[in-house]
């Protein structure tokens, strides 16, 4: 077994190879991703931390069982996000509840800055209002639009990664994102008019 410090230098792909030889190495991959993925599940589903942890554990077990299916032409992070996304959606469908988008404050600011720049609606909508209502508005969008918005603006994924995570062509992802922004824009404007 390698020493604790040296695993930090290993790439994800090297850790996958090592984990296939000795399952002890798998904990380093788990530790590397657990925080990000837990946050992603909570953001995507709106479930409690405890429920999200249960899903995450299933994700890591499933990923371990499928380690030999990991395609080295893909980023490991995209592969594990894909499994996480599918598990979270499957879990929610079992519960028959719509995913809720929960954005923590740190991520909220970053996401909002990126979204505001892209939507170009500040001149029409009060900034305070935008801050208070954006998550609720994203939450009411269709699942497909919500998924791309969360991945792009909250998880900060690029088109290639989004395509690999959602298993959709990049062109489709770009179209979905464009439509998602348009829908979000319309919904925000509509709500802000009612608010005024």
């Amino acid at each position: 077994m390698i020493q604790n410090r040296s695993y930090l230098d290993k790439t994800d792909e090297e850790l996958v190879t090592l984990s296939l030889e000795d399952k002890g190495y798998y904990k380093y991959l788990v530790e590397r991703y657990e925080e990000k993925l837990l946050r992603y599940i909570v953001r995507l589903s709106g479930l409690s931390k405890e429920d999200a942890e249960d899903i995450l554990q299933d994700v890591f077990i499933k990923a371990y069982q499928n380690l030999n299916d990991f395609d080295t032409g893909l980023k490991f992070s995209s592969w594990i996000y894909r499994i996480t996304h599918n598990e979270a959606i499957t879990h929610l469908r079992k519960l028959k509840s719509r995913p809720k988008v929960i954005i923590d404050q740190g991520a909220n600011d970053l996401a909002l800055n990126a979204l505001r720049a892209d939507l170009d609606i500040e001149k029409n909508i009060d900034k305070k209002y935008l801050l208070e209502n954006i998550t609720g508005t994203i939450d009411r969008l269709d699942e497909k639009y919500k998924n791309v918005l969360v991945l792009k603006y909250i998880e900060d994924k690029n088109y290639q990664e989004m395509s690999d995570i959602l298993k959709r062509p990049m062109g489709t992802v770009a179209t979905l994102l464009k439509r998602a922004k348009e829908k979000l824009n319309v919904e925000l404007l509509k709500k802000s008019k009612n608010f005024i």
């Binding site: 296939l20 399952k23 002890g24 904990k27 788990v30 657990e34 890591f60 077990i61 030999n68 395609d71």
Partner: protein, 232 residues
């Protein structure tokens, strides 16, 4: 060690979970590729049959029928094979989409490439001596199939509308002969003004098609005659 990694490793240990074999995934991916290729092959057979049926069709026979050219064209479309082609194009797309990298390509790209491959293979198959045995076997054994396609035999099996085809079985004299149609019925045929075309041998065994008029239960008066595989 974090709580989640501890729990995960403990569960892996307790339930003796091991990674599935690499071959499982290769096999799974291979099955999708195999089904994709099978779909393309069946699609090309459909294309070859469509080309066969369209080239075997008498495109000018509408002149002798009470149908417009457009109606006649719609009658010529082999709907059954077009539906088979669409089904297997969809099936090919489904299987390709489930291969390892299948999701990268847009729906229309996959469909267009699949269609192109089926048309290319089907056309090569047709020109490489395609045997329309499937079509014939289906026509003979599946009545429902026959309802879905319009064959050349169907067009030349309308004696009430003046169209009749079959094989000459006996020459009686210069302007009379016996013909067996595609249902095995025998017809006494009389020729108008001894008009048997010079280019067709006037002998039994020749397959012909005729334009004329039904004169009785099994009597047909022929105004024009053509070789079965020639122009009407």
């Amino acid at each position: 060690m974090s709580e989640i990694s501890e729990k995960t490793l403990k569960e892996i240990e307790e339930k003796k979970i091991v990674p599935q074999s690499h071959w499982n995934f290769i096999l799974k991916n291979g099955v999708f590729w195999f089904l994709f290729l099978i779909s393309i092959i069946i699609g090309s057979l459909a294309v070859a049959t469509i080309i066969f049926m369209l080239t075997d069709y008498d495109w000018e026979a509408y002149k002798y029928m009470d149908k417009t050219q457009i109606e006649y064209i719609f009658l010529a479309i082999p709907y059954f094979w077009v539906i088979i082609l669409i089904i297997f194009l969809t099936f090919a797309y489904y299987n390709f989409r489930h291969t390892r990298k299948g999701y990268i390509y847009e729906f229309y790209v996959v469909i267009v490439v699949n269609l192109f491959a089926s048309v290319l293979l089907g056309t090569s198959l047709f020109f490489d001596g395609f045997d329309p045995e499937i079509n014939e076997a289906l026509l003979k054994n599946v009545p429902l199939y026959h309802k879905c396609v319009c064959t050349k035999e169907d067009i030349w099996d309308l004696p009430d509308k003046g169209l009749l085809g079959g094989k000459v079985t006996m020459i009686k004299n210069q302007d009379e002969f016996t013909l067996r149609d595609f249902h095995g019925n025998f017809w006494e045929v009389e020729l108008e003004n001894n008009k048997w075309p010079e280019e067709i041998p006037f002998q039994s065994g020749v397959e012909i098609k005729m334009v004329g008029q039904r004169e009785g239960a099994n009597i047909f008066w022929a105004r024009g005659i053509g070789l079965w595989n020639g122009k009407p």
